[in-house]
Amino acid sequence: MPTYTMRVFRGDARRGDFREYHVETAEGMVVLDVIHRIQATQAHDLACRWNCKAGKCGSCSAEINGKPRLMCMTRMDTLAEGAPITVAPIRTFPLIRDLVTDVSYNYEKAKTVPPLRLKPPDPDGRYRMMQEDIDRIQEFHKCIECFLCQDVCHVIRDHDLKRQFAGPRFFIKIAALDMHPLDTRNRTEFAAREAGIGLCNITTCCTEVCPEGIHITDNGIIPMKERRADDYDPIVWLLRKFRGQRPEPA
């Protein structure tokens, strides 16, 4: 069984540094298993979040050798055995302790997104949607809210524009609602004024770290930026509303 040297961040908002742990691993182990092993045997109070351990809940986000990833989906055998492996909390959010950060910013932004406003049903009282019309939105619904895209976004990470910027997670949330066949609201103005989509300069970092492989930039953000340009033409906007047409996804 290979033994790894793990350099895990220990500390809180005031102070902290990396501490080394030596851990024996077994076949198939992921970084989260190693963290749990350290917890059970060497540092009972090592703080980390996790739930499903299967890449479905998005709780165990961390920066592993500097890369934002889910600990539960990072196999040890994909990391080099010789060199120490660093595990750090996601940097963009205030640290609570060890690997746990305060991600409440995301929950605050979630509340600001205008919810679905339902159109009336078909005459028989049912709602019909064609699969091809919802494929793209189902892609956005795959989001597990790991907030890795938020962590890596320059606007939040480097420029700390949290107040005026909702971040990629919420751009695809807005996109999903705007493209929803049963929704009647227009969020273009919201995306520009409240969510700050104009601040995004499409570096695609968010897309690169998404563990669900959602095409955040290409399928979510860019079409929304284009729509925003279109929607500034009030006649186009009115016509679209009048005919009940929805903007075409790219």
Partner: protein, 599 residues
Amino acid sequence: MAVEYETHEHDVIVIGAGGAGLRAAIEAAAQGVSVGLVCKSLLGKAHTVMAEGGIAAALGNVWPEDNWQVHFRDTMRGGKMLNNWRMAQLHAQEAPERVLELERWGALFDRTKDGLILQRDFGGHRYARLAHVGDRTGLEMIRTLQYHAIHQGIDVYMECKVERLLRDGERIRGAFGYWRNTGAFVLFKAKAVVLATGGIGKIYEITSNSWEYTGDGHAAALWAGADLIDMEFVQFHPTGMVWPPSVRGIVVTEGVRGDGGTLRNNQGERFMFRYVPEFFKAETADNEAEADRWYEDKRNNRITPDLLPRDEVARAINAEVKAGRGSPHGGVFLDIGTRRPPDYIKKRLPSMYHQFKELAGVDITKETMEVGPTCHYVMGGVRVDADTTQSTVPGLFAAGEVAGGLHGSNRLGGNSLSDLLVFGRRAGLYAALYAKDLGGRVVVDTAQVEAIARELLEPFTRPWNENPYAIQAELQETMQDLVRIIRTESELRHALRKIDGLKDRAKKVRVEGGRTYNPGWHTALDLRSLLTVAECVTLAAIERKESRGGHTRDDYPKTEAEWGKENVVVRQKNGTIQIAREPLPEMPAELRRLFEEKK
């Protein structure tokens, strides 16, 4: 010495924010009362997020023959008739409307060609019945509820763990716990409490359940004087991953079999045909050709035995492995790669494809999966009134996995998500009505609260040095080895003795570090409920001297008609857990007829 704590007051507090808790909170808020939603993880991370296959509801979109009576009948038969008939009836009747409501709140289920909600096949269901989104239905459900809930004026307390319910004489008065982030204590005063805390799967070593499933709600209800029923019935999902060791127990959705996958032993045999019990013989295919035709034509063919209820399949896999016909790592083979095209598999089962590829290095479109039973669900729970979900303690309501009765001795796949919606809504509704009726102010005994707080701090100052993780691991080993799929009295008694020993050691746990986000301390506190529910399961398993559903006794292998009329009830009196046998509510004649007619 006074202990510091903050206080919040609501008409209703809901503990747990999975499907049942969210749905309860939404409904209570809709009644115009003040609602607090308390959850121990971040919002949207509860166990519901892991549900894969779908929500069972007789919408009749794929098979117009389907209706609530057929769903009711399947549910009762799946539970070997031990279900609370009224819960099963309400569940089958209301599930379709609850699914449609989710759609109106923005959920996007996979579609039929006509644009309606598509439904898939699942074990024990006569017709394709599960509304789904690929194999990530739980995610769609929890996100929909979560984003609906945040606009309803509900106060959400995230990463907040409730340790005890508070009572004043007969009635519930609130709950007490701590913030995980800071370790600070928090008192919730409330007229009504809804428990929606999920299950107990963390008492087992091989489990599909996350760290959260420590039986908090079951234990807190018991300590507060509520009855638990059916605690002997633990569901082992037949298909958990078995290799590599780090993923052991993670569920492989029943949707794999629903979508055409089949189980094979190491001889390549589809062994389930040898395990069809008498109870299901008339309705189950007895040859491969018929079983395969059934997927397309349900009118003229009987269901494949691969989709027998979970208890049957889990026992069959267990027996195959024991007989030496298992896979290299102690499971059996699940094959969909040779039976369905790769594109179909990737579209229908994207998470399964991803999960096996990433975690096990297996391409399920080409290779077979290795699977074996994993602890998945507890049928038992708080005894509730079917219509109102109120427990035997006034003001205490329970919905979802923490409540008992709906699933009898075995739950059908897909019936959990529908359970959360149907009874989550009912719990929220009746808790709100109760709170409105009650009026007045809630007064809490501060001495009681301070005593609890001091007890919760004990692990920091004890003179001993027991490791909380080690005790949890030993409990899991004990349950895995001795309170197994197949049980026997001597082993169950042995387990009880071990649990007693662990209880003593748990009192000597010492934790290092401070109160800020300290998982060692959290684990130390969880031990109390883990050990309590382990004891409940074991005691109830000793009491039921027959085999039925999720309770199989090697020493009493038959299903006994007499036992089919009784629940095992667990309650705490004067500090000790007591066991009783009490009669099941009797099903009215018009519903009984559904089981007499030959379908």
